[in-house]
């Protein structure tokens, strides 16, 4: 093993642990083909890797028992403190995994379709009627109220002949995302237009992740899917359904679904849902969600109201035409945004994005800087940076994971030199924040924090 081989040890360790980039791996493979000492070192590390994996797997098999012991300890601790709730060990451990898989499919809701509903035997008269009545609905207006908030989320939906959402208009109040502020969203023909009112920005995107997010929202609010979910959960023993059909025809039928706690694993946050069904139309008028509070009481989390069933929504509703003329328009569907990652690591591309952005600003190439900064128009970049007069990049530091929970990517601290009235000084922007372009994971762009 010569001095070159010593340097290769790092790459061999990375290869074995699976953190070596493809380009480096190719070079290393060439070296390994010629060097028996490095091949031996690789074999030894691979054997140790297998041993480590086996060692961890062995411990992993005991993990369920460890968790069970912990849950028993928690139960004992609750009993000694006089907390009178059922044993969590019993709740969790008694249910077979098959139920979990079924619950995941039902709650996540991607697998089940109306065709499945049609093939199953109806378990409850009222539920089946509601499903049938809802199936022919083409237009729907929904208001979703959250406990403690006055302003609801609001949706206008148009369905196609197959019952799939065709066009959506959504009003999202500021409480839903305090950082972005209130938003108006229109989703049509696979494209979304989002008007960020606080940020005075109109963004057009064509992003599968956004489309998936929208379909999940629809899944939660679509009344025909709600009744279908109830029935399927009951079949696998994960929900108890109680139906109350009052004799007075003006009083709505109530359908109460109380969920088994393991439904939470698959993202169902409520412990109980109550549907109110109109006796004449058999359509849902309200849906209430409850969570189980200390002492066994059910506490209201939110209420969804279904209005104006099948009243044709004016097509103009699915066009954002009330946006003020001074908004900044960012169309991510027509232009390339950010920089291509290629073979670079995430940290390397984050540094490159920041460097090329400020180099473009220094060179007054505002169009390029704008493309790197989420496709912001050149005029807006010029407006931001002309006065600041950045003359030089002093340093760009190691990227750090973005400190805001839920925000992808990095913060890349850097120091810039600015000049004003012949005096030079150091300027440190707040970020900048760098992350993959929405829907384009191999391209990275700046999303904010370019100023103090």
């Amino acid at each position: 093993m010569n001095s070159d081989c010593e340097k290769m040890k790092d790459q061999i360790a990375d290869l074995v642990t699976g953190i070596l980039s493809e380009a480096q791996e190719q070079k290393l493979r060439q070296h390994l083909a010629e060097c028996s000492a490095c091949r031996d070192y690789t074999d030894a590390l691979q054997n140790e890797d297998a041993l480590l994996t086996e060692y961890v797997e062995k411990m992993d098999t005991d993990m369920t028992h460890r968790q069970e012991r912990l849950l028993q300890t928690i139960d004992r601790s609750c009993q000694s403190r006089g907390m009178n709730t059922p044993s969590i060990r019993r709740i969790i451990m008694e249910n077979p995994m098959t139920k979990y898989a079924a619950a995941a499919a039902i709650i996540v809701g991607v697998v089940l379709t109306l065709s499945i509903w049609d093939k199953t035997t109806p378990v409850a008269y009222a539920l089946e009627q509601t499903a049938k009545a809802s199936h022919s609905v083409r237009f729907l207006h929904i208001k979703d109220f959250k406990a403690g908030e006055d302003e609801p989320k609001e949706f206008w939906l148009e369905f196609d002949d197959q019952g799939q959402a065709k066009s959506i208009r959504a009003h999202m109040p500021a409480w839903e995302s305090p950082y972005d502020g209130a938003k108006e969203v229109v989703w049509k023909d696979g494209k979304a237009k989002i008007w960020f009112k606080k940020k005075k920005t109109l963004m057009t995107i064509k992003d599968q992740r956004f489309a998936d997010k929208m379909s999940k929202i629809i899944h939660l609010f679509d009344p025909k899917l709600a009744v279908q979910r109830f029935s399927e959960l009951e079949k696998v023993g994960l929900a108890k359904i109680e139906i109350d059909e009052p004799s007075k025809k003006t009083t709505p039928i109530t359908v109460t679904a109380t969920y088994s706690p393991e439904c939470k694993k698959f993202g169902l946050l409520a412990d109980r849902t109550v549907l109110y069904v109109d006796q004449t139309t058999k359509l849902i008028t309200n849906l209430e969600s409850y969570c189980l509070a200390e002492g066994g009481d059910y506490e209201l989390m939110g209420r969804t109201g279904f209005y104006e069933y099948d009243q044709k929504i004016d097509p103009a509703m699915f066009v954002l035409d009330n946006v003020p003329s001074d908004v900044m328009e960012i169309d991510q569907t027509t232009q390339e945004i950010g920089l291509e990652q290629g073979d670079l690591s995430d940290e390397e591309i984050a540094i490159k994005v920041v460097r090329e952005f400020y180099e473009a600003v220094i060179a007054k190439d505002y169009a390029k800087a704008g493309r790197i900064f989420g496709n912001i128009p050149a005029s807006r970049i010029e407006e931001k940076f002309k006065e600041l007069n950045i003359v030089r990049i002093i340093s760009i530091e190691e990227p750090q994971p973005h400190p805001t929970p839920g925000v992808e990517g990095f913060m890349v601290p850097c120091k810039l030199e600015i000049e004003k009235d012949g005096i030079k000084s150091v300027y440190e922007p707040y970020g900048p924040g760098v992350r993959p372009v929405s829907g384009r994971p191999n391209r990275w762009n700046i999303h904010g924090g370019v100023e103090k």
């Binding site: 360790a13 709730t85 969590i88």
Partner: protein
């Protein structure tokens, strides 16, 4: 389960829903155990510490203000518990109480590996243990330890190299005997 759904489960725990805490146990216990094993270097001590840390988490969950930081919060509880444990152990050692060691002349590959892992410096042992428990995902380890991705990769790389030296050092010694 994503962070938003996790938040809902945590809110349910804060309202006294014990079953919801079982969901958190299933999701986070392994990570807490891996951290404890990394700090303490001993499976039995790690088991005890992970149990204690999760129980503390359950009893204090109402005090957690930012639900989206549960993972960071529970790992901090576990880390502090392990450090306290090591301090207490040091005091016991200083007062002359001898630690019991496993007896028997036969040592398996796993025993050798466990001993070698124990001899790694703690700053390498923690990321290495968490890396293998977390399905070899360096980015997750970086997030959990609040270090950069490249920093996590460097620690894992150095840990693997040092572990190899420790394992082969033992073999060389045995061959000399």
């Amino acid at each position: 389960m994503n962070a938003r759904l996790d938040n809902g489960v945590i809110r349910a725990c804060q309202k006294g829903n014990k079953a919801a805490f079982a969901v958190l146990v299933e999701k986070h216990y392994k990570g807490v155990f891996a951290l404890c094993l990394g700090i303490l270097g001993n499976v039995h001590d790690a088991e005890d510490a992970a149990q204690e840390a999760m129980l503390k988490g359950f009893l204090r969950i109402k005090k957690l203000k930012r639900q989206d930081q549960f993972e960071w919060w529970i790992l901090q509880i576990a880390r502090n518990h392990c450090i306290d444990f090591l301090r207490r152990k040091k005091r016991i050692k200083a007062s002359g109480v001898k630690e019991s060691r496993p007896s028997g002349s036969q040592t398996s590959d796993h025993d050798n590996l466990e001993q070698a892992i124990k001899r790694l410096p703690r700053e390498l042992r923690v990321p290495l243990t968490m890396f293998y428990f977390d399905g070899k995902n360096a980015k997750t380890i970086a997030d959990k330890l609040n270090i950069s991705h490249s920093g996590a990769c460097q620690k894992i790389r150095n840990a693997r190299k040092q572990l190899h030296e420790l394992l082969t050092e033992r073999t060389d010694d045995e061959q000399r005997l």
